[in-house]
Symmetry: D3
Subunit: 197 residues, 6 copies
């Protein structure tokens, strides 16, 4: 354990480390032909938004889900985003082991908070953890639909594998809506509060 | 819980709308010379991570803070990221009005969840809201430090204005650590759990 | 008013300010799915070229139109490119007020020249101003067609709104040609002057 | 005036051709280490703005200079931006020959307008042509200064060669101001018209 | 001739020069609508891979072909990638003259090695040289197919001209396979060695 | 083994697979702050060029080294570029196992050619293999120097680790020249062959 000053430095070190996720690509999209795919941070952001929405629909705790979603890929600062095909060739330590290293120098309250959320997510035993994972998969499906609207014609396998992994009814219904929908529908949504006032 | 079909479509429409934040730039960095700055989604992701850490240090609720951070710039799908200088020339509706439009077609449970969090954040009256805003400012400061390490020499005003806006002691101490620190320190952190095992 | 040395510094300050337009995106394209859209500078360049061509076709002054086109979005260094949907939520000062600030420290001859052209453009009372605005809209339509050829399938609303805004017969006929045409037709144009010689 | 249908198609073909300049890089910056340099369109836009300012300072016609600046690199759709070192190895047809091919299918009024401006610019015999070329060189110098502020430390040769090529006193004084100045000075300019009102 | 220390400096100078090819675009793709096309280095890499495969199929020396492919566009540090249409307007020195300048300060063994390979490639008189050029053309065809899968609908002329230039039967059969194939087929290839073990 | 038509399809499938290396980043640079680093293809290209130069200096076979360099990272289509820190957490199959899968459907002559070169490289028992690995390390060092000239101030660890791994005297002397040198020195090299003629 470190003294208080070291704790703060340790927390800052982890914040800098997380900056890698703004630069690191979701590598699977390289296969689909995307030269500069979304970053892991971008995926995690919308996963957290989707997660809190799904939680509200499924009667889970939106804040807890949102927090787990923010953390769900943070290990990728150290192991990057391993694409599906790589699993034939690579064996990885559990995510909880990576997180343990990442927060080792953080203040105990920070380390405990993050460790508990990652542990809960990885165990997949609470409704919140299940909803958070569904958010991860649904976000991937939606991004695949968006890449298709941007011209990439090789995204069907991402849609199919994401759709198949969904566990909650709300996520499955949202996936159906995504596949039936149109990314720009919101631009023609009914007149706004502001306009009405 | 809701199972109206239109509700699900409305939720999906908002998820597509949020996709804009993966593409939309944090516009302030254009002034600092960055051609392709971080996206709003990238900023929001790390803000949420910083927020939960700050919450743990300040005795606030990390999950609630994390959720508010995820939402804090979601209005920018509709108004973009207005840079500081633009405030001389533009008058904007309150963020709560934008959020009201964004969630109008969502299932009530979703709309209520998001509205409550945005309203709390904008009011700045709870510890969680204050911590979430500190996370927003601290994240900007850290990004400025990182851009300086990437060669951009015109970031001091972002550091200064972010530092001056911090309210909590933990955020202030983290800012000091950021300014004294080094983005790559974590690469030489002590041997890992895995290596020890 | 400033002395001569200050004038030159003021002019240089405005030139640096205009550099933002090389980095700042035409934000509307973020909605259409474009991660890194054209810059405002790129749009303004071709608008000026289109403007001088339209002027020649409509019997207006090509040089004057070209100059107004170069200036028509220069205010966006300070207010960025406000997308259409944002107008529900934002109220902006007139462009002439922004220009007044931008040229306040320039030599009087420079300030007067720019102010006069911006004022004429914003008033939309001369043929040159009308042609310049048509060039702005037509350039947007052509860019939409090009993005469609690059794979983006959500550009129809930009085509429709641009087409509807055109005032001159020449711009309308050019828009029809754009919609019927092909961006690469010029590569197979008849043998060149040089080859014939 | 022309109303031949082929003419309009020809004009549109040239407008599509000019779209290449939004994508084509100013190749010299590749040597300075810039992976994705400014486009030719971006350079041409600010050249036109600088040109009208220089014209106002030198007593030349700002509109005419602006128009020549917009056109000064349009030949590069067909020959790209040949970097300085390539001139050891390449011999190029005159720009007027390229322009002749580009406008051959345009309406005569368009072709005549563009041809006259390019011819005047290439001949370098009028004050407007000299000012337009100074704008081209000064814009390059300013961009070099900006790239240096963005971290690129190998731009001195672009500054030196651009500075040496300047002919007018105003351009030389602006170059001195650029080298003494700071790209962000405008952000702290005195309070605006709007704020005062 | 230079002394030993100068030789090493000369070799290093050429290695730095080759770094330009990582930044320099294959300019032809700008016409097809690609804002940030592959670099010359990227094209050359896969050309070398294709070349060694073609060599194995045609009974040529794979290593020799691979080496010629690596070198085949290295002159473009100095003359950039001249697009097809530019040949109407530009006359270029032979590639061997550019190479001679590039290696003039290298150690004699290096200069001789590179000169011999470039000379052999340019003469197109050996099977290895013919196979290397076929690799260049086939790589372009494959990239065109990939860009089409990424949404760009204007690549047919690159496919046609590349296909027409192929000389060897193996390259022609590979081109047919490329046009009939699918860039992602490998992701569903039969179970791997590793999985079987 | 497959029939002839299947062989060609298998070869084409591998060529498409290699296209991933044009899009996949050298992930280590994300840590150094580079948002869009060089691709694996770009690194491999210059590695092959450096390799043939080193081979000439060390008396090895330049063509064989060049071929091994082209192949040395081709496994990364399936496992991506695993950064150094990830080795704490990941265990990977040997590269030869990945290559075996990649070429399994290729014509036997192709499969044998590639397998032999990869096997030789991985064994590191021939002079050519040692020189090829030195080329890999030296290329990384040179890229680090170039990124430093582009503003990234956190590259020293890449320079140090690459320098320490070099085995041949020529590579060590070239590394010293790189650290003493300047990426743009070649632009002011003595007058060219062409100029002299």
């Amino acid at each position: 354990m470190s003294d208080d000053h070291g704790d703060v430095t340790g927390a800052m070190t982890f914040i800098f480390e997380a900056g890698v996720l703004k630069r690191a690509a979701r590598t699977g999209w390289w296969f689909a032909g995307v030269k500069h795919p979304e970053s892991i941070a971008e995926h995690s952001f919308r996963t957290a938004l989707v997660g809190m929405m799904l939680a509200a629909m499924e009667g889970a705790d939106p804040a807890r889900v949102s927090m787990m979603c923010v953390l769900h890929d943070t290990q990728e600062t150290r192991i990057t985003d391993i694409p599906h095909i790589a699993r034939r060739y690579l064996t990885a330590a559990p995510n909880t082991a990576v997180t343990a290293d990442q927060v080792a120098a953080c203040p105990p309250a920070v380390a405990d908070t993050i460790t508990a959320a990652v542990t809960e997510y990885e165990a997949q035993e609470t409704l919140e953890a299940v909803v958070a994972r569904d958010a991860d998969k649904l976000e991937c499906l939606v991004q695949a639909v968006e890449y298709r609207h941007q011209g990439f014609d090789n995204v069907q396998r991402w849609i199919d594998s994401s759709r198949a992994a969904l566990k909650t009814a709300s996520a499955q219904r949202l996936a159906d809506a995504a596949l039936a929908g149109q990314p720009l529908a919101w631009l023609t949504s009914p007149s706004s509060q502001v306009e009405r006032s």
